[in-house]
């Protein structure tokens, strides 16, 4: 039996943790919000993907340099590409059957239908502007001022800049000429005219007094700019010989935007509380500009869009409240107006709106407008309006999530009883007794005949369908605890609760900033679950918010009194949690205000001089004393500090070896990992530090570690996993160039069965030096891909084996690596002996293969993920995962297979059927056997 169980467990260990291997198993538990970020207005357009295509798609390049094609029907992303590193802006232009985008030094043309790359060219300089001049030929303006013509990915001609001091602004194309617009440091503007065929440059200067806040715009037919800090507007029609026309700008204007299409130019004025536009017509031959009409002022922060449809030019005006108006290019008569059914709060501003207008018979119009909005805390949310009706929306503001916290949902059964008991506590004995009687009477009714009568129905339900009908919603958790809220904060100051168990549905949204103080917003430092259903938010600016995690109501808001350096949450016995905040100047504040510290606390704070300090915080005065400091080696700097997850239960204190001896884990919850890097010598040092006494318990120097590539680490239990890029030579010896994944596991002592000083001690003092010196075992593996972020699964009891989660930007996916694959005890250069095999140790292989079955996101592409956080479910086998930072992704994993829950393929009907069939069989066979036995006895007797 023992042998069987051993063999069985061995087999279990060898199986991959259950994954969706078949297509229909994927996407059941995982969800993905593919986000792209805030659209760049000038690089967002409706475009027919092919000349004969019936419908057009929305193409947009965003501030995170993602080029995406959005289906206007439902808002789904048809395709998207991350161009550049996600921080630099760029331009995207429509071409015939293609979209050409330039980010940084690269110009790429993508097939408009499927997003496949048609051609790409990399230049030496950064691209400033790009215009498509037909087919897939583009003219590119560089930041150094030079202009290049690219056709099909090949450079046709290059035209160097005349004056290196000129600041290139934009590029226009008209007829056969390309116009490059430059701002000159002193004189004004310069327009370079380049024939598209030859690339021979001729240029002319215009004197203009352009201030830093002035705007310069150019379209195919006109150059417009403002002078003297937006007090004057000047127009210059391109291709005409006439001088610039000057118009005085209205008083009190804070912003002027220009939009042009064909012969129509729209000037959009914004004051503090109003916005309006004036429409001008351009005369190419005369070079004149005449005012066609002006619109009456309306709400501020609106957006206009100038759209050509057939021979007509239309203007749509979208107001922040969702109202929109349609105008023709001739007069200020409203062709059509749309009221909105959405109730936007007053703080919304429309960043951009692009429209597609199809005229219908009887002066009717089909108008689709793609709108990007910004409200305090939420920047870049988009939605599409069709004839005034909001069709779909995309929460693009969640692309900039910087902090998150898990919120436990309430257990309906426990909560109900707890409430009742709480009532009884506050009553007299007799009152409590009566209350108890009443409760039992109530229960008799609840679980009375009706409930009993419903049992067969429920049993039938359970048999026939696998789905549980009455799934709990809202703040009540489901039976298995798969549902949890993740409260996340955006960089702009929005607080959002996502239901991770329900495909990431947005439960509520709250803004921590108002439009007035949005300029001073410095971001959320950390979010904590401070109590049942309450989250506390600490902001860098020095505010503490408490928010109801289920409803999104702001409970309290208090100033902390200074800029925040760091914060932590302390559990001080019982239910109460205290948030300790370190202000600049190392003063300590406890939150919520009035909280007390039961006993002295020891915390670690990053110093201003790039060091790390251990502080002892007095429990009464909150005065701090520096206990230790960690200054990195003179040439090094601290890259990052990693600690163990706040919830990290350890089921077993030792590791049982094949020969029944035990290696005791070095368990110390005060361990932190410091990664120090030396960019000049390309080295990285890993220190594991005991954070109460400041003693380094383990250190490892990695010479030849590329500090320009990500170095990430994660800690759990008694081990540390980190990844870095190693050079081909380490200390003069050849080494494996590539990404390395290193595991270091800490044990109490070198020899099994022997315990260090931590031994059986109930308590130990790290200060008195009772922490011993761990024995560290390490292995290094070559990992085939870059890892930008690491995480580790957590389960309720910590019995389930752990998995290391790694974000691989190269394949835009998250992989789950079983911890036992990274075991530092894997035997090197020999096959494992029997005892090691029994432990589940495999022979060391230098390369960790990427098993596609371990990719959590299957075929989905995850872009921009910076953090992976995990939390246990109610089932021991299951860990819930949430990844954020760009896209949002959630799933749940079972590293040791779902051993405590029946699988979907388990058929209750089959089970009952088998038992019934066996029963019938026994009923048939039993009399026969009995008769045979009796006959046999008689026969032997006779």
């Amino acid at each position: 039996m023992r042998l069987f169980s051993r063999v069985f467990s061995g087999v279990l260990l060898l199986l991959p943790a259950v994954r969706a291997i078949y297509k229909d198993e994927a996407y059941q538990n995982d969800w993905h919000l593919a986000l792209i970020g805030a659209s760049i207005p000038s690089s967002t357009f409706f475009h027919r993907p092919a000349l004969d295509a019936k419908a057009s798609l929305i193409y947009t390049l965003t501030s995170r340099s993602i080029l995406a094609a959005i289906n206007p029907r439902d808002g789904s992303i048809v395709w998207r590409h991350l161009l550049g590193d996600g921080t630099s802006s760029g331009v995207a232009r429509k071409a015939e059957g293609a979209v050409i985008a330039a980010v940084d030094r690269e110009v790429k043309a993508f097939d408009a239908i499927d997003g496949k790359l048609i051609w790409e060219t990399t230049f030496a300089g950064r691209v400033k502007d790009l215009q498509v001049i037909g087919g897939s030929t583009a003219i590119v303006l560089f930041e150094n001022g030079s202009v290049t013509k690219v056709s099909g990915g090949k450079i046709v001609w290059e035209s160097p800049a005349i004056d290196g001091k000129d600041i290139p602004q934009s590029l226009s194309f008209q007829g056969n000429n390309v116009f490059g617009l430059y701002q000159q440091p002193s004189k004004g503007l310069r327009i370079a005219t380049i024939p598209a065929e030859t690339g021979k440059l001729s240029s002319s200067s215009i004197s203009a007094s352009i201030q830093p806040m002035d705007k310069i715009y150019s379209s195919a037919s006109v150059v417009v700019w403002t002078e003297n800090s937006m007090s004057q507007i000047k127009f210059l029609v391109l291709g005409a010989k006439s001088p610039a026309i000057s118009v005085a700008a209205p008083e009190g204007v804070v912003d002027i935007k220009f939009q042009a299409s064909g012969k129509t130019l729209l000037v959009h004025y914004e004051t503090e509380d109003k916005s309006w536009a004036e429409v001008y017509g351009l005369d190419q031959t005369k070079g004149s500009v005449n005012n066609l009409y002006s619109l009456d002022a309306n709400a501020a922060r609106s957006a206009f869009s100038v759209t050509e449809s057939g021979s007509e030019t239309y203007i749509t005006w979208t107001l922040p409240n969702g109202e929109s108006f349609l105008y023709g290019s001739k007069s200020a008569d409203v062709l059509d107006s749309y009221t909105s059914d959405s109730h936007n709060s007053g703080d919304v501003s429309v960043l951009s709106a692009i429209s597609e207008i199809i005229p219908k018979p009887e002066k009717k119009y089909a108008v689709r407008t793609f709108i990007a909005t910004s409200s305090p805390g939420f920047h870049g949310n988009t939605y599409l309006v069709r004839n005034g009706k909001a069709i779909w929306s995309r929460p693009e503001s969640l692309v900039s999530v910087t902090a998150s916290a898990w919120v436990e949902l309430l257990d309906p059964a426990a909560e109900e009883v707890a409430e009742e008991l709480d009532v009884e506590v506050h009553k007299s004995v007799v009152g409590a007794y009566v209350h108890r009687l009443a409760r039992h009477a109530h229960e008799l009714v609840t679980y009375g005949p009706d409930w009993l009568a419903s049992i067969p129905g429920r049993v039938m339900d359970a048999f026939l369908s696998n789905e549980i009908k009455e799934e709990k919603s809202g703040k009540w958790r489901d039976f298995f605890g798969f549902r949890k809220y993740a409260v996340v904060a955006t960089r702009e100051g929005g607080l959002v609760a996502l239901d991770v168990g329900r495909k990431g549905a947005i439960v509520w949204e709250v803004s921590l900033v108002s439009s007035k103080d949005a300029g001073q917003w410095q971001g959320v430092q950390q979010i904590y679950e401070v109590g049942k259903g309450t989250v506390g938010v600490v902001t860098y600016g020095g505010e503490y918010w408490e928010v109801d995690a289920f409803e999104g109501k702001v409970l309290t808001k208090a100033p902390i009194g200074g800029r925040i350096k760091s914060s932590t949450i302390l559990e001080r016995g019982g239910k109460s949690k205290v948030v300790m905040v370190v202000l600049e100047g190392s003063t300590i504040t406890l939150l919520p205000p009035g909280a007390t510290l039961g006993e002295p606390a020891y915390i670690v704070v990053r110093g201003d001089a790039g060091d790390l300090n251990g502080l002892r915080v007095d429990n009464i005065t909150l005065a701090t004393v520096k206990t230790w400091d960690f200054v990195p080696q003179p040439t090094e700097e601290i890259h990052s500090v990693i600690n163990r997850p706040a919830y990290d239960p350890i089921a077993s204190i030792g590791k049982v070896l094949g020969d029944r001896s035990v290696m005791y884990k070095y368990i110390n919850k005060n361990l932190i990992t410091i990664i120090a890097t030396n960019p000049s010598h390309s080295s990285a040092t890993i220190y594991i530090l005991e954070s109460v006494s400041g003693v380094i318990v383990h250190s490892a120097v990695h010479a030849g570690a590329d500090t320009t590539k990500p170095i990430t680490a994660t800690m759990s239990e008694n081990w540390l996993v980190y990844s870095y890029f190693g050079a081909e030579e380490v200390n003069g010896e050849p080494a494996a160039k590539g990404y390395h994944l290193v595991v270091s596991e800490l044990f109490e002592s070198r020899s099994p069965n022997y315990r260090g000083p931590l031994a059986t001690a109930q308590m130990y003092s790290a200060l008195a030096g009772e922490i011993g010196r761990p024995h560290v075992l390490s292995h290094s593996y070559i990992f085939p891909a870059e890892i930008s972020s690491l995480g580790v699964t957590t389960t309720k009891q910590g019995i389930t084996t752990r998995e290391v989660l790694a974000m691989m930007p190269w394949s835009s996916s998250i992989i789950a690596l079983p911890k036992r694959l990274l075991d530092p005890r894997r035997p090197v250069d020999r096959d494992p002996n029997e005892a090691e095999r029994e432990e589940g140790l495999m022979k060391y292989a230098p390369v960790l293969e990427i098993d596609p079955r371990s990719v959590l996101n299957h075929k989905r592409e995850l872009l921009g993920i910076t953090d992976i956080v995990t939390t246990p479910a109610q089932l021991e086998s299951t860990s819930i995962i949430f990844a954020y930072g760009g896209d949002l992704f959630g799933t749940r994993v079972t590293p040791s297979m779902p051993f405590d829950v029946l699988g979907k393929e388990f058929s209750k009907i089959q089970l009952v059927g088998t038992i019934l069939a066996l029963g019938v069989g026994v009923g048939f066979v039993a009399p026969m056997v009995r008769r045979k036995q009796i006959n046999q006895r008689w026969l032997t007797l006779s």
């Binding site: 251990g614 002892r616 004393v625 520096k626 206990t627 230790w628 400091d629 960690f630 200054v631 080696q633 003179p634 040439t635 040092t685 890993i686 109460v692 006494s693 400041g694 003693v695 380094i696 250190s699 490892a700 120097v701 990695h702 010479a703 190693g726 380490v730 200390n731 080494a735 494996a736 390395h740 290193v742 270091s744 260090g756 000083p757 003092s765 200060l767 008195a768 030096g769 009772e770 922490i771 011993g772 010196r773 390490s778 292995h779 290094s780 593996y781 070559i782 090197v828 250069d829 060391y844 230098p846 390369v847």
Partner: protein, 208 residues
């Protein structure tokens, strides 16, 4: 009597044999404290202690270490530290460390209790990596399984590297070289056994 002599000689030859077989692997204990300055430790560093109740650090030890070697030494504690005199309590936090070039005290934390009995202390000197003559950090820790104070100047441990598979080298005939089969015990040491047997057999008959 005769059998006894034979037995003795056999034991002797076997002992000889065994001592020949297993080279001495006596555990070399790293040189530990108490040694005097004359053993080549050219560099010194003052170690201070600083109870949190005190205004300023006071000297604890003089450390002697070498530029490269691991062994180091410290002055035997001539004077009594604050824990011995009772100036700082058992539970009081005492910082032990060095004063760096800029005059800033840099150390780790311990308690008065750990300083009372200095027998089990481990002092770990970590050198400046770019200038091994200088001290980067000194750590003072009480370790229970130590017999006597241990002072060492540790070198940074290189991080693990992947164990790469060795390339397969073929010999001139393009074949895998035959691995050298290790000789068995008898093949190697038949002559000793023979000599032993000879001794035993030719033990000479005593005049009986």
């Amino acid at each position: 009597m005769r059998t006894l002599t034979h037995l003795l000689s056999l034991t002797f030859s076997l002992t000889l044999l065994l001592s020949h077989l297993s080279p001495s692997t006596a555990y070399q204990h790293s040189t530990t404290g108490k040694s005097e300055q004359d053993n080549g430790h050219s560099l010194t560093q003052k170690l201070y202690l600083w109870p949190i109740s005190a205004e300023s650090p006071t000297p604890l030890y003089e450390l002697w270490y070498h530029e490269r070697r691991e062994d180091a030494a410290c002055s035997s504690a001539g004077h009594k530290n604050c824990a011995m005199t009772g100036e700082c309590g058992d539970d009081e936090i005492v910082r032990v460390g060095i004063i760096d070039e800029e005059g800033v005290f840099r150390g780790v934390a311990t308690t008065g209790k750990a300083l009372k009995n200095l027998d089990k202390t481990l002092i770990n000197i970590r050198r400046n990596r770019s200038d091994p003559k200088k001290v980067w950090r000194v750590e003072f820790q009480r370790v229970y399984d130590l017999e006597e104070p241990d002072v060492r100047a540790t070198k940074p441990t290189p991080g693990p590297q992947p164990f790469l598979n060795k390339p397969i080298v073929l010999n001139a005939e393009g074949k895998l070289p035959e691995p050298d089969v290790e000789k068995t015990f008898l093949q190697k040491y038949w002559w000793v056994l023979l000599a032993g047997a000879f001794l035993v057999l030719s033990g000479g008959g005593s005049a009986e």
